[in-house]
């Protein structure tokens, strides 16, 4: 099954979803598709102007362009996902997940779609790590 991961660029979540036999939907794969398919010498970084305009599906024109560009990548993945994993309060939120408002919107879009999702906490010690990985494993195994 296709599992959207949030943060969408997390290596830990990507790795775990694959290990437990599902297909992670990630920012990396979505951006790769754009890079490989744009037939120009020097494509714009990550998204094109058309993408930012497509982001209007998820947020109005009064919303900053960086949010619409991000939602243009994640929105369709959330639309396509069968399930999702949300990791709350990760200390690492840079790059494509660098905008706090976009990150909030992604969590909302997952809930609005009504697909099964699990919320796990970012672990700070071994007990928490057991709960985080254990919850992810149980959730993914339950998706069959």
């Amino acid at each position: 099954m296709k599992v959207f991961i949030d943060p969408p660029n997390s290596m830990i979540l990507y790795d775990l979803v694959e290990r437990f036999g599902h297909e992670p939907l990630s920012a990396m794969a979505a951006i790769q598709e754009k890079i490989d398919n744009i037939e120009v010498d020097m494509p714009p970084m990550n998204v094109s102007l058309d993408d930012v305009v497509k982001g209007l599906k998820y947020a109005g024109v009064e919303v900053p362009s960086g949010i619409r560009g991000r939602l243009a990548i994640w929105g369709p993945m959330i639309d396509e996902a069968d399930a999702a994993i949300i990791m709350t309060d990760p200390p690492f939120n840079f790059g494509c997940v660098g905008c706090a408002r976009s990150d909030e919107m992604v969590k909302y879009l997952i809930r609005r779609r009504g697909i099964p999702f699990v919320e796990v906490e970012y672990p700070h010690d071994e007990t928490e790590a057991e709960a985080t990985v254990g919850s992810i494993k149980d959730f993914l195994e339950g998706l069959q």
């Binding site: 290596m11 830990i12 990396m28 790769q32 490989d36 970084m45 970012y122 057991e130 990985v133 254990g134």
Partner: protein, 140 residues
Amino acid sequence: MSESRETRLFMISPDSMVTPDQLVRLVHATGKAATVKETCYGCLVEGPRDKVREILAEVREKYPYEIFSKVRAYPCGDPRRCRAQHGTRPGYAQLEAEWETLPLIAHGLRNAEEDLPYELPEEKKQFPVDKFKKVCEASR
């Protein structure tokens, strides 16, 4: 999704004794037609998707709790992404933070694979106002 190329980063957990050099040799030893680039955190592997996935399976089998992996959008050595060209991209700091957490994830994985029980963290409740008031009054 593009079927032609997969670029994948393999990251060695900070508590592992495996070196990037050993990891690169392991990838080469699989005999799959893929490009391997040694990095400070492990290596980057690039090639046809099926070959890269076969390499992933072999690496996971040998080092299930020491090496973690995800795909990368930009190909190896792409000047837009390459650190040597203009400094690091924002995602670098994130990878660094995730790298530090890998020993905990490995612990969680061992626990989960043995189907051991786990405790969900308790939700912290707010301190009741009347009790807080008493604390304030006591420290007056």
